[in-house]
Symmetry: D2
Subunit: 295 residues, 4 copies
Amino acid sequence: MSQKTLADLNACSKDDFVGALANIFEYSPWIAEQAASARPFAGVNQLFGAMKAAVDRAAPDLRLALIKAHPDLANKTQRAAGLTAESDFEQNSLGLDRLSDAEYEAFERVNNAYRAKFGFPYIVSVRRHTKDSVLRDFERRLPNDVKTETQKSIEEICRIAALRLDLLVASDDRLQVHGRLSTHVLDTHSGKPAAGIAVELVELSNLGVSRVVTRAVTNADGRTDQPLIGGRPVPIGRYELTFSVGSYFAQRQVPMSDPPFLDQIPLRFSVSEPEGHLHVPLLVTPWSYATYRGS
Amino acid sequence: MSQKTLADLNACSKDDFVGALANIFEYSPWIAEQAASARPFAGVNQLFGAMKAAVDRAAPDLRLALIKAHPDLANKTQRAAGLTAESDFEQNSLGLDRLSDAEYEAFERVNNAYRAKFGFPYIVSVRRHTKDSVLRDFERRLPNDVKTETQKSIEEICRIAALRLDLLVASDDRLQVHGRLSTHVLDTHSGKPAAGIAVELVELSNLGVSRVVTRAVTNADGRTDQPLIGGRPVPIGRYELTFSVGSYFAQRQVPMSDPPFLDQIPLRFSVSEPEGHLHVPLLVTPWSYATYRGS
Amino acid sequence: MSQKTLADLNACSKDDFVGALANIFEYSPWIAEQAASARPFAGVNQLFGAMKAAVDRAAPDLRLALIKAHPDLANKTQRAAGLTAESDFEQNSLGLDRLSDAEYEAFERVNNAYRAKFGFPYIVSVRRHTKDSVLRDFERRLPNDVKTETQKSIEEICRIAALRLDLLVASDDRLQVHGRLSTHVLDTHSGKPAAGIAVELVELSNLGVSRVVTRAVTNADGRTDQPLIGGRPVPIGRYELTFSVGSYFAQRQVPMSDPPFLDQIPLRFSVSEPEGHLHVPLLVTPWSYATYRGS
Amino acid sequence: MSQKTLADLNACSKDDFVGALANIFEYSPWIAEQAASARPFAGVNQLFGAMKAAVDRAAPDLRLALIKAHPDLANKTQRAAGLTAESDFEQNSLGLDRLSDAEYEAFERVNNAYRAKFGFPYIVSVRRHTKDSVLRDFERRLPNDVKTETQKSIEEICRIAALRLDLLVASDDRLQVHGRLSTHVLDTHSGKPAAGIAVELVELSNLGVSRVVTRAVTNADGRTDQPLIGGRPVPIGRYELTFSVGSYFAQRQVPMSDPPFLDQIPLRFSVSEPEGHLHVPLLVTPWSYATYRGS
């Protein structure tokens, strides 16, 4: 799955074009084939538009075949038999390759219940989700009728395809598939950005163990050098962001109680828009703090 | 250990007086005996002063005997053999009757190391502490010399005695041995106190499982009907106070993201002054919150 | 207008009763006369209820006469000729005895326009208002029809009467005619109540000069010994409350910029419920502050 | 005073070079003359360095002549006789061309007292100041001795020169002589940036009338399109920044009290670092707000 330039895709043979984009839509090279005739593309957005148009005008049975071409989530047998490289990468991003027993059972229940009702696999763009939010999404969709779920499945397939295309194709323009989660610590005791504060971002889970997403230390500007999450969708889900403020103020020899009133400050919040920019700052003294959804 | 009035203690026979107060200082009725001659007492503070004076003027060997009269913390053999009712109550208040194996071992290590160095048991007023802070206190005291620890032990014994006396004697005046932990939720989205918010106070522990201290629901004034902790010392230690704000705003049909940006808000803080009033309020909208050490 | 006890009013002759309460409703002793027959009263609320009932059951022409018995607001000729002591006190409380020329003209315009349209004076319970809010109230009421304004006038007359009765009669119960405005300064730099902060409350005016309502200094608890406004209605209107935080932090030798980022902090807010309790606290460091409508 | 490029100044004749830079230091072309020999300059910082070096190595009597070449602040006679275009622009930026009588007298007092003590005019880089801070600066400097004030005067002269050079010369590099004052309004009631809020920045004055510096309306990002002050030093002084939040929330049909608890919110703060970036944000609901010194 080595990256291609848009120029290459515009210039190469039709076979090479189709070969390169065969799995943008899982096991469905016919979509790339149809899009090929619209070459050259001015940008990756136009390329994606052409592929999506092919899906939109496809006959119902072809759309159903597209849906059925997708694997189950976290299905051990299918994983053993081999997924597409793309599916494998995506499912791993969610941690589906290292589920606890409880989680594995939860996903198996989801898949079986869904397949039993609709006759096709439950499809969701897992890179936009956490394990918790996948299960929540499933619970909301299971009561739907077939028509609604067919439509939902196509929508999710297109989201999956856009993320795959974004990874594969280098172009001057970008698909709007990335979000950002950032923070900023302002020390309102000294009136300055708080540098050197250790922060830890954890993805919370109802099912099993929570998972550390990233650790960082604030720089001279009170920010992290890199966004906490960036260059990809920010998965829908619940998070806890913890700031080690006790040691920060201790190092600055600020008078505090013993033990310090505030030491590790956890901010617990949810992400609902994977493609948005969510800013979660902390305004802090040894005796008070505040946070808000910024942007 | 039925409660006595100060009037009764002033009026009763010396034997009855000594009998009633025999275990205010663990297994040391001589202290009550000396205090008896100072009767009548104008208040419980004066009574405590007389008993403390007896301790202060006691000869070194008698003070050492007083120290040695105390049991080890969380010692299973001693517990099986029977503690004074007072010690039993106090140790249970800290949860020493239901330790995990890891905790039990930690306390045993503490006791043995301390006794090996000083020749007398490690004494601390456990009603002023959590398990974590007891272990922290031990680590700070172990490097001390014998003289310092003898003095520290007497101080802790007097704190224990004051709390026992406060429980035992009804008087118009009160010993200053109680603290208070309170909260208040202000909904700055509607500009009103937030009523009906579920709050949960948990004592955090490095060693084993955290422990729910209390659960409550805010009243029309945004406060809890009873303080979160009151009528006793607020144990030194780390706590997490969690507010269920997601369901509160959902019930008021306030527009929110899905999932809500804020749902369970945890405030993590430490208590350092068991006899003080610590107020930990929450100012909250669906998109922001603030807290501070109030009073 | 010396204060009476409810017991006295219950026990005295009918003439004395009517004499004492003759001006509770301006120049309308018939109301007290009717209420007299309902004696004895269990409390001042019951007494007020009896007087209000007399107004409520009065025939339209008597109600109109009651309305017409009231003076114009801020009318120099009437003031020179003499108002009831009660009207004089009330108008002075609003500062109607020391109007600027612009203000005097504004009130004269109001009175004349209102009287020209309705044939009776514009009546408002001035102790519940500031000059600004009186003029705003007038502008809202002038477009009304006679029926609505007759009703509004009676309502205001009853509010005036309740306040007069509250001043005159000492009783175990109280009429709910008082409000309270309070503040609290919390120094979140040191984690303690801010003592010794000078505060100044000013009533803002669109018309003329603003007026200092009160000055105070915060006590050890970060509060003022007396509420900023208490024991009377909190007049509807706009206010500015200024806190001298620069000198406070300077005295505590807290490092600051030169000149200090924050020195005099003004909080500008409106009062809308004269009988309510409005709490306007300040959470402050040398580099940040927050306020909110508390209660 | 039309702008020159650094390239032109490097390439032109020495006479043209000196002519162009003659008044960078007031009436002192000898400084440009000395600097000319160091051409070509890699950037404007290097050019300024060469001019400043000429000042630094000048003999005491030449430095004194440089000081004495400067006009008094706000001296009507001198203004009538004509200042350099540069001095005129600078003094006008402070509003010295439109002083009230009280202000005029205050400045005259300053000038006379200073000149009487030191024998040379009081010099300050007025573009870095407000009228208030000039008078405060004067009061601090008047008690100094001649040596200190000679040094201070040279420092201020160099600051003035840097600002003049920054205006005159276009170069790829910039002198660090500009600061920035910015704001941001976050509506924590809706969790979004507050668009369409009118803001007004006023320079406060102890002496006379306060002066509106700028008015703006927040954009979709809750910021102003241009910084409140930018592209120049942010004058040391006291400011009030007012936000019209009442009409903003009213337009969004947010339930409020009548009159609204918050309508015009004033933030009063001081600027102490003219070359720094001062960010003064507002977090606001109809019932609460917070601000802090950001960056």
